[in-house]
Symmetry: C2
Subunit: 724 residues, 2 copies
């Protein structure tokens, strides 16, 4: 069992900080919760930086500065007031209200917004080089910096405004049933939108989704309390294909902006297929797409002629007995139009591979028992790719430079610890390194990626100075397979006294594509944990098998039986807690949301004598009511995996509920629809067990804004009522 505390001194300092001190301030939920009135003040400060080519720019609301990367010296580039005056944008209705970016390395243009228009302003001359009205009713919009064309979606139809400002309605049959230009497959497979410009901005690939055959889930909208025009509640149906049910049909069109002609990619019958990760070749006349089967165990990378829509070739094929899940489009090398980088987990970890356009593997670019998390871009001149990965430590994210020809990989972030996010300059020679470490709220360094030199630009002061901050610990235990390391975080009660026994709450998520414990500030502790620690609770958080960043087999251990292996691992966490004298295992609680809500109820009902109190938010109750894309990836279908669905269903466990369990949902949750919670209540009512329940009308899968403060007061009160 290895603990992650790096420095004895720091630990001592933190322990001292946790001692009762006169005049220490106490946290409120308004301080700690993201919807709280004082929350922003309690966050580590930061700086908004961006690149103008290789020139580092700091953007303020009213001023933009150039920044010297090596010494951090700032010089005013322009102010909003002066630029508005020079550009003659004097009336409130036309004046710049916000700066967005510096899109061209070779031009002194800033992209800016007024209340109504998008524009490019030459900040040297004050000339408005280009401007275009913005349709505020657009459901989605994509601007292209080369052609200045904007593709947008309105009333589910596709429109394109070309660089000269002429708008064309591309489709006319859009509706709730037939959706153009928007995300498909419920944002699974890394899909975040439905509009894909070619590099020249002359052709647009776009999704078309026919969901007329998909069943509606009958959500309802309760009118706002101050809405005098609407008295009665209204239906708000949500197209929701449940596991094993009929799903939608997706096709991909390509619009030629100049001619207005659209061709559809000739991908064949779209029934029970997933089309994802759309990208373009550098010359903008070939579209690439990942094509998966409904079973999600086979995927092909296919090239299409963007002019005719005809299928050209399959460049890559991957299969796995459990599932494959392409999450990243291919990316061409800037210096070689015939080669691209492809992501795959096929060797067990997410790594980068170099392929050519004939579909031949050139080489594996990265390898090892760790995963590539992000690709930041390229150093074109020196032919390197800049990535983030957890190669140094499973719970860190560091920044690396990978030489494409040699495969040599060099860590280039500042300090090599903690969690680093990067933003690369145009040439790839510089990098902004935003990072946290367990005891670092936020630092920003500028990195010379070629020389591997780091210059500290910003050091955020501890925003919690003067407060009674608990001690945050991190360590590992063995998984239920007795082999795999699992990482935990423990938040000690404020004024911790090891001779006392503390009520302890396990916070859990446990599902795929997520993790809770990493080497960010306070080991990424959620602020509610601090609130609970202040109220005398110990918090324990363990990332079980099935969670992300630990490789394919770690995540796929849960296949076809979601929750089972996860529970075994969580119970190892409980075993560990039992070894700690200061943990009162007679007062053990559990809390989680979404997959974590599913885990909470699973643990409460499978181990009714272990967990006394639970709060489950937006819980999945039976995977047959979850949607096809995510649900079937991990569980297959109810038809092909009846035993897995039966074993994991909490309907059958309702009778075993013994402790106090509160279920909380958003009435308008389109992700885990209310049917889950309602069905569990039905089962409990039939079985004579008594869960508690609460609903946030108008809220979705998570409570937004200040309602989150109300929610966490509610969660806290429940543990205070029954666990304390």
């Amino acid at each position: 069992m290895k603990t992650m505390k790096r420095k004895g001194l720091l630990l001592l300092l933190m322990a001292l900080a946790a001692m009762p001190m006169v005049g220490q301030k106490q946290f409120t939920l308004e301080d700690l919760n993201f919807g709280g009135t004082n929350y922003r003040k309690m966050l580590p400060k930061s700086r908004l930086l961006t690149w103008w080519g290789d020139q580092l720019i700091r953007m303020g609301g009213d001023t933009c500065w150039t920044v010297n990367p090596t010494n951090g010296k700032e010089k005013v580039l322009f102010t909003r007031d002066k630029l508005n005056k020079r550009a003659g944008l004097l009336a409130d209705s036309v004046a710049i209200t916000r700066f967005e970016s510096f899109p061209y390395a070779d031009k002194p243009f800033v992209k800016a917004w007024s209340g109504k228009e998008c524009m490019l302003v030459n900040f040297k001359t004050g000339k408005v080089e280009w401007h275009q009205p913005v349709d505020m009713d657009a459901q989605a919009a994509e601007w292209h910096k080369t052609s200045h064309a904007t593709a947008f979606v309105k009333d589910d139809n596709l429109f394109v405004t070309d660089g000269s400002g002429n708008t064309r309605q591309v489709t006319h049959d859009g509706s709730r049933d037939l959706v153009y230009g928007q995300s498909v497959h419920r944002n699974e497979f890394g899909i975040e939108g439905g509009l894909f410009w070619n590099p020249q901005g002359t052709r647009l690939a776009f999704y078309r989704m026919d969901q007329s055959m998909v069943t509606d889930y009958p959500l309802i909208t309760v009118p706002e309390l101050n809405d005098s025009a609407q008295v009665i509640a209204t239906p708000a149906p949500e197209k929701y294909p449940m596991a094993g049910q009929t799903s939608h049909l997706v096709t991909v069109g390509v619009l030629d902006v100049a001619t207005g002609d659209t061709v559809y990619l000739q991908a064949g019958d779209p029934t029970d297929r997933y089309f994802s990760n759309i990208s373009w070749n550098p010359s903008g006349d070939v579209v690439y797409m990942m094509e998966g089967n409904r079973d999600q165990n086979v995927v092909d990378l296919v090239a299409y002629d963007a002019v005719t829509g005809s299928r050209m070739r399959t460049l890559y094929h991957e299969a796995h007995p459990k599932y494959v899940e392409p999450q990243h489009p291919i990316t061409f090398l800037p210096w070689d139009k015939e080669k691209f980088i492809l992501w795959s987990e096929k060797d067990g970890y997410n790594h980068l591979y170099l392929y050519d356009t004939a579909g031949r593997l050139v080489k594996q670019l990265t390898s090892g028992n760790w995963v590539v998390m992000d690709m930041l871009g390229f150093d074109t001149e020196q032919q390197a790719v800049i990535i983030s990965a957890n190669a140094d430590n499973p719970i860190q994210q560091n920044l690396y430079r990978v030489d494409v020809s040699t495969g040599k990989m060099t860590r280039i972030d500042e300090g090599g610890r903690g969690w680093h996010n990067g933003n690369l300059s145009a040439s790839g020679s510089y990098l902004i390194d935003y990072y946290q470490e367990p005891d670092v709220p936020r630092n920003i360094a500028i990195v010379d990626t070629r020389k591997n030199l780091q210059y500290r630009y910003f050091t955020a002061p501890d925003p919690w100075q003067g407060y009674d901050v608990p001690e945050y610990r991190c360590g590992t235990i063995k998984a239920a397979d007795d082999n795999t390391d699992l990482y935990y975080r423990m938040v000690m009660p404020v004024n911790f006294d090891p001779s006392k026994k503390y009520p302890t709450v396990v916070y859990v998520y446990g599902g795929p594509h997520a993790h809770n414990v990493d080497a960010r500030w306070h080991w990424s502790s959620r602020s509610w944990e601090t609130y609970m620690a202040q109220r005398g609770y110990l918090l324990f958080i363990l990332d079980n098998r099935g969670s992300e960043n630990r490789g394919r087999d770690f995540e796929q251990a849960t296949f076809r039986q979601l929750g089972q292996v996860e529970m075994q691992d969580q119970m190892r966490g409980v075993d560990f807690l039992r070894t700690l004298n200061y943990v009162d295992t007679a007062r053990l609680g559990v809390h989680g949301w979404s997959f974590g809500g599913f885990m909470t109820i699973s643990l409460m009902t499978n181990y009714p004598d272990v967990f006394k109190v639970g709060v489950a938010g937006g819980p999945v109750i039976d995977w047959k009511w979850y949607e096809v894309m995510y649900g079937e990836r991990y569980m297959d279908t109810p038809q092909t995996n009846p035993e897995g669905y039966a074993q994991t269903s909490l309907i059958h466990k309702a009778k075993d509920l013994k402790g106090r369990l509160q279920i909380i949902i958003g009435l308008n949750d389109p992700t885990v629809v209310p049917q889950h919670a309602y069905s569990f209540l039905k089962a409990c009512i039939a079985a004579g067990t008594q869960p508690d329940f609460y609903v946030y009308p108008g809220q979705g899968h998570n409570m937004m804004g200040h309602q989150s403060v109300h929610l966490h007061e509610r969660i806290t009160r429940y543990f205070d009522d029954y666990l304390k």
Copy 2:
């Protein structure tokens, strides 16, 4: 302050019964709750009696007996087995399964059911005199005993099967939007169905309701857990005209069965009008109807020619500045085809008036500061009407014979105490008197109505013998007007010790057309009160102004401000509790359902320092979300009474919630739609207050069957958690 305990001896016996005794049995919710597995055994036993003309009959499942009314001696009339054999109804599919009635005084016929057919069987000869298949999909059906015709509704269309078995579909455009032959105006105004035969069974008056213009409330149905065919929840929209919103259009058709022709009563534009209390003249060619305006402050009794549909005349007009609410159709005297009895509250109490068919008042039949509750029928020969009324005591219901010519009124029930329900024989010479008294679980007497002689037929043993039964008390306090007597019931904790202080729960309904305290067994205590008394609570129930059976002004005191006067009266109840040393007013709870849920939240938020814990079921939160018929009667519209709606709305009170309040609803409540509770939660979330909430999926305004046990366990637990 007057107490209702009649007998010192009885009180002593009850006090003794409440003392701790070794071996006394304890109640469970399965014993006490109407959905409980042991509930039926815990009810006072009864006998199913009916009349065959003036012959008293006892009906068993398998045997019918004649009963001698004066000595109760029973003689087998026939058995089901033997009758089936004699009638040749041998196959299971045709055999009689159930007896229903003896419809003809002069014929030895029993009306009986097989699984599929309705029939008349001569129990002397065994001959099946008449039979007809029953359509099990019918939404409503009315059989006429003279013509043997059956009117029924299927798929919202009207059908009639004549006495010979020929079925005719009368309407063809029935739908969810256009409903035939069913109850209209949401069962207000005493409406319980939509099919009205004339006395001959040759003409049928029926309702037609066009509700296409009425907004739907979006209820949803969660599939049954064992329904493998239906996976996803489905919409279950409910036509629901909210106060001040567009309501439906009702018209009344008259079908001539012989010709198949239908005429509609020429009542004029039905917009914003209520047509209720449909009845026929004795010769079956005139239809009478009460016609009210939307404001419900004017009503006319109008006669229509049933052959042509033409309007004949207005016979009666009534108006009141607050509201008039006709609840009873007119009834013709059996001995005088030109005179009928009309009910009215116009002198301040519900009384009977004799009118003639020219609309002339002949005389007021009953009068006094008490109300007629039911009209049981007539003694035709001696020209008397038999009624039930509370003339002897406001919380009793007694049976009376009223001589029509002299107006002389004689009480004819057995004992003159308690609560009596009567069933009159064909000639009116005999009466079955079912009754309870505070210390009588159930007695049945046979009354000779002419001689005013009572013969005890049945005395139910105390079904709670051997249990720890609490003491039930009843008394009066003054209302907040310092003048009006209000009746309360108090259920003392089991093993009551006046030197202790008990947590006390006020159970409340408080709305119109209902009462809680009367002179039935245990003063009509709801069985949950006994359960709570067993757990050490004191229960207090007060019928405030606004409740029924106390006359017009008592009920109408709440007009345009529902809940306000009711709360003032309930707080007088709290003042009374404060005078009792054994009531712990620091541990005061409140519970109610429907209007009582509204009262519960009203009390919790208007008196946040008085009530510590509340449970509110199916509560109205703002009357603007209640339906037009009931809502506007008491509150007018949101447009005409904005200050009343604002004052009574609990949305504005959400911020004042201080104690623990659990709101419980049925997810499929079509009466107080879920929008009420959801909107209150929204208001509380916005105000930062924390009610608790629970929902019963698939349940309506009340929890049915065994779910009621679950509900009461839940309610009890909440008081145990926070009040005990």
